[in-house]
Amino acid sequence: MADVKKIATRESYGSALVELGKKYDNLVVLDADLAGATKTGMFKKEFPERHIDCGIAEGNMVSVAAGLASTGLVPFASTFAMFAAGRAFEQVRNSVGYPHLNVKIGATHAGISVGEDGATHQCNEDLALMRTIPGMVVINPADDTEAKAAVFAAYEYEGPVYLRFGRLAAPVIFDPETYKFEIGKGQILEDGTDVTIIATGLEVGYSLEAAKILAEKGISAQVINMATIKPIDEELIVEAAKKTGKVVTVEEHSIIGGLGSAVCDVLAAKCPTPVLKIGVNDEFGHSGPAVALIEEFGLDGKGIAAKVEAWV
């Protein structure tokens, strides 16, 4: 993996905002005293007048974004996932979701790969929370290419969007020259016949590694990238389940309410299929280097492969 380029998707978020800002005057960016970490500082440098630092007041920031959107501006409100989806959940629901305003929530530092900051800042619940809000689009991009494309797509889309980004540098999987992102569409990255692994975000790269390990053991795993958690690509999920008969979901999120649950919702109704949910079990994270935590929680290639091998 040494020669693979790695970029944290929060960096992609920052640079995509700058690109969009150059094209569109109606784009504004809000932050809550984390512009350096969320990378909206890049936008602030280019467009200081369109960067609104709300201070450490995330609930207020989200409702302010709603007010801005009601006048025709397109706000991207940014903070850590814990505070965007967690602390400001009710503002996202009532100020943004209910009036269906054109607010984009850019949530960085999601999942246990926040690392050393520990459990208070490791948000493993955001996909579950955001998924329950009617009309909310929820996107968890896998790499730099997809993250940038998702930010552009979120701008073009009229309505609320939750974008989930990570702190840890992730391998670049997709070629920016050829990659096409579409909200609500997953992609098959590897074909396989014994089991389907549906992964999202940081776990897409690790799932591709797992598929290689499984291949060496004679298990043919299909790998699907599912960036959009809502609306989820039902057709692709059902098609894959019919083909392999066994589905594994992998996410850097609680196994309760996230990608795994979304996939189970589809399969329970349309194509009952055994599902193994891999993610953070019903427990909090803790401090440690990000990569070590990913390994400890069994969310690296080896860990995923071991769980799949034991299950199929």
């Binding site: 609104i52 207020n60 709603a66 007010g67 009601s70």
Partner: protein, 270 residues
């Protein structure tokens, strides 16, 4: 054109009829705010009921969203929709939801009802005007119980910090909340000093005196470089004998018999 007092009285009748029809809702705080609603929609704001989405219109956010009956009665009186609609309040299929919704009701500039969020939305609208060079003004009405919400002060800090002189925050200081006297439940006093500390221009008035209301909004317009907070001392249930200063009328509706008494009380003010 009817006098402001006469218009406010019509709005009060609408509040009574609407909450009676709904058999629920919030008449007390609607009645306390009726004169402020009247002044905003019949005198102060640059609005056109025929063009409710005009991008240059002044904005209003009802941060104390539960007094929707007062808001709806005002919008109906102003011509945004027929007054008969008030009798559909809170019923299935009605555009008049229990709390205001931007998607349903003509003239509503922001959904509200979860206390503390409306003022933040108003701050966003005011920032937008500053960013785009638009000259519309933004008004938001808060309850005096509502200002117990921490988000009110997050929003106020940002408004003061960004010198939003196009923003007017009005506090309907009727002194009562659901659980009783605001001073007993969890006192927000001194209210004026709090807003002053958050870099607001503060005006304290009798919220039922139209001369004082007019003067306060004129002072707000004249004040440059800072937002204005108008602390309006009001009477909860104003105009209806048995509702005045009774916390119990915060969130309960008059039955037919009580409505008859209420409308008779208001008829005396015609």
């Amino acid at each position: 054109m009817a006098s402001l007092a006469a218009t406010a009285n019509e709005i009060r009748k609408g509040i009574i009829k609407a909450t009676n029809s709904a058999k629920s809702g919030h008449p007390g705080g609607s009645l306390s705010a009726a004169d402020i609603f009247t002044y905003l929609y019949f005198e102060e704001m640059n609005i056109d009921p025929a063009n409710p989405k005009d991008p240059n219109r002044d904005r209003f956010v009802l941060s104390k969203g539960h007094v929707a009956p007062g808001y709806y009665a005002t919008l109906a009186e102003r011509g945004y929709f027929p007054k008969e609609d008030l009798l559909t309040l809170r019923k299935i299929g009605s555009h008049l939801q229990g709390h205001p919704c931007i998607a349903h009701t003509p003239g509503v500039d922001m959904s509200s009802g979860s206390l503390g969020q409306g003022i933040s939305c108003a701050v966003g609208m005011a920032i937008s005007a500053k960013l785009t060079g638009a000259d519309y003004r933004v008004y938001t009405l808060l309850g005096d119980g509502e200002i117990q919400e921490g988000q009110v002060w997050e929003a106020s800090m940002l408004a003061g910090h960004r010198n939003l002189d196009n923003l007017v925050v009005i506090v309907d200081n009727n002194g009562l909340q659901i659980d009783g006297n605001i001073a007993d439940v969890c006192s927000p006093y001194p209210i004026a000093d709090k807003f002053k500390a958050f870099n607001f221009n503060v005006v304290e008035i009798d919220g039922h005196d139209f001369d004082q209301i007019a003067d306060a909004f004129a002072q707000a317009k004249a004040c440059k470089g800072m937002p204005t907070a108008i602390i309006a001392k009001t009477v909860k249930g104003k105009g209806v004998s048995f509702m005045e200063n009774q916390a119990s009328w915060h969130g309960s509706a008059p039955n037919d018999e009580q409505m008859a008494i209420a409308l008779a009380d208001l008829a005396k003010l015609d």
